[in-house]
């Protein structure tokens, strides 16, 4: 039995380190193991150096650090597989849930928002970070890791932007814009210049870069982050101001000719409410868009700007109130039209008399409002409401005039 000296133990320890084994606990394990073998098998007066070199060679095939490599592989192997599994499951789950959510949204079924929320949250908080962690291991250079990190961040940003947008939370456009800026200023140049150097990936890089730039352009149009503006010309101001004056005059005329007729009290009250709601809506819209509550000829030469911002932006902040007002207005106008038509038919005893379309497809008018509400520009909505207002006044006035005309004729 051989007795190892401290010096020899140090020698073995240094040799193990020199052979590339860096994990402390593995170094200790191997040191103890070799010492045990030497102490058990070497005779008391044997050749330490020779015996050690022979023994250590039996530990490996090519190099001692293989043991450490195998250890690290075993330690990370299990994690790697669980992570990969979670990544695939979360990715599939979020994709499925999001698709269901979008389908529900189209069908106006309940639960759509929850599904979309769940899908986006899981994909941006679980799937994308895991994808990054796993892919980052494969990348060698810091530059590649940076590109990957940027891509992940952009992915999280874009999905949050979409989420904020559909939930009408503030900041969606800001996130969308940040995403586009990161893509255009940082990610695409980095991606392009690192990919173009590799002859094999050259064509792919160019194609992908072009597609990404196109995608950013399309997205920017969707985000509509900067509404374009134009000056309202003096002639247009004049025209709109005249419309306002006309609406006011016609309304006053109507009140004058119908005021004494008690059978018209109900329809006049309805006309007044329509007038009032339209005025309120218009005042809100104008104040939001141009800073004034009404359009008069005084605004000429004042450099009035109008944008192509959607009216949704205005209504979005106080949706419930506007929804209430608009559906009330819609109901009143339908009632008024039907009333006018029925009365005209009764008076003339002819069914063909200016039959309003509304009676046969009551959704037509409502769709007008839908259009005002969702897709129109702020300024377009103002014009639409003006039209609706004027039409409803003219409609009732026409009936009242007809009624008075018939009353004057000898029966």
């Amino acid at each position: 039995m051989y007795q190892l000296s401290d010096k020899q133990i140090d020698y073995i320890f240094d040799d193990i380190s020199a052979r590339g084994v860096e994990m402390e606990s593995l170094q200790q394990n191997l040191l103890d193991h070799i010492c045990c073998i030497i102490e058990q098998n070497l005779e008391a007066n044997g050749d330490f150096e020779n015996f050690y070199q022979k023994t250590i060679k039996t530990f490996y095939k090519d190099a001692l650090w293989e043991i450490e490599e195998e250890t690290i592989l075993l330690l990370t192997f299990k994690n790697y597989y669980t992570m990969k599994k979670i990544m695939i499951i979360s990715g599939t789950f979020s994709a499925v849930v999001m698709s269901i959510g979008i389908f529900f949204k189209f069908m106006h079924w309940p639960g759509a928002a929850l599904c979309i929320l769940l899908g986006i949250v899981i994909s941006s908080l679980v799937f994308l970070p895991l994808l990054f962690t796993l892919k980052a291991k494969e990348k060698q250079t810091i530059k590649d890791k940076l590109i990957l990190g940027l891509a992940t961040f952009s992915g999280i940003l874009i999905s949050s932007a979409v989420l904020f947008k559909i939930m009408h939370w503030p900041g969606a456009n800001m996130m969308g814009l940040t995403f586009v800026i990161i893509m255009l200023v940082l990610y695409i140049p980095l991606y392009f210049f690192s990919g173009i150097k590799n002859p094999e990936a050259k064509v792919n890089t160019i194609v992908t870069t072009i597609i990404m730039i196109m995608g950013c352009g399309l997205f920017l149009t969707l985000v509509n982050s900067r509404p374009t503006t134009r000056n309202l010309s003096d002639s247009e101001i004049e025209y709109l101001a005249n419309d306002e004056v006309m609406i006011k005059n016609e309304s006053e005329k109507l009140n004058k000719i119908a005021g004494s007729d008690t059978s018209l009290t109900k329809s006049i009250a309805r006309a007044e409410e329509i007038y009032k709601i339209c005025e309120e809506l218009k005042a809100d819209i104008l104040e939001y868009e141009i800073g004034y509550k009404s359009i008069t000829t005084d605004l000429k030469g004042k450099n009035i700007l109008v944008s192509n911002a959607l009216v949704n932006n205005l209504f979005g902040s106080n949706r419930e109130l506007y929804e209430k007002k608009i559906s009330r207005l819609d109901k009143l106008i339908q009632e008024q039209r039907i009333y006018c038509w029925l009365e005209k038919v009764r008076l003339t005893k002819k069914e063909e008399v200016s039959r309003p379309q509304i009676l046969f497809n009551s959704s037509v008018l409502f769709n007008d409002f839908d259009f005002i509400y969702y897709n129109n520009t702020v300024f377009g909505a103002y014009k639409n409401i003006s039209d609706v207002q004027l039409n409803s006044i003219e409609d009732l006035k026409e009936f009242v005039e007809l009624k008075q005309l018939l009353n004057k004729q000898p029966s």
Partner: protein
């Protein structure tokens, strides 16, 4: 006859766990010697396979370690954790079942028939 390393690789975890279950605490060299002894030199666990496995078992929480200083060097003793004890039973019965299946699959007749 010495078994090939491929055969041993799949069963090494089970062997180590079972040895620790029977012996309370052991260190690396001791494990290799005990296996050699018990199998009459038929199974020789290499250092390159044993230590990675021990580290993996430790990170899985199946074994715990305690260190002891032997002069200038440190000896690491391994023993089973409570979850390791359960895992050992599971692994041993799995292997027994596997061996039965293999016997049937490869149509191996018992030697003493």
């Amino acid at each position: 006859m010495i078994y090939s390393s491929e055969l041993i690789k799949g069963t090494l975890k089970t062997i180590v766990l079972k040895l620790l279950a029977d012996n309370k605490k052991m260190y690396g060299y001791e494990i290799t010697q005990r296996v050699k002894e018990l199998t009459l030199d038929k199974i020789q666990i290499t250092e390159g396979a044993l230590y990675p496995t021990l580290h993996a078992l430790e990170s899985d929480g199946l074994v715990t370690t305690e260190t002891e200083f032997i002069g200038k060097r440190v000896r690491k003793y391994y023993s089973l954790s409570p979850s390791g004890k359960n895992k050992t039973k599971e692994k041993v019965s799995e292997l027994a079942d596997f061996m039965d299946t293999m016997k049937f699959l490869l149509d191996i007749k018992p030697k003493t028939a």
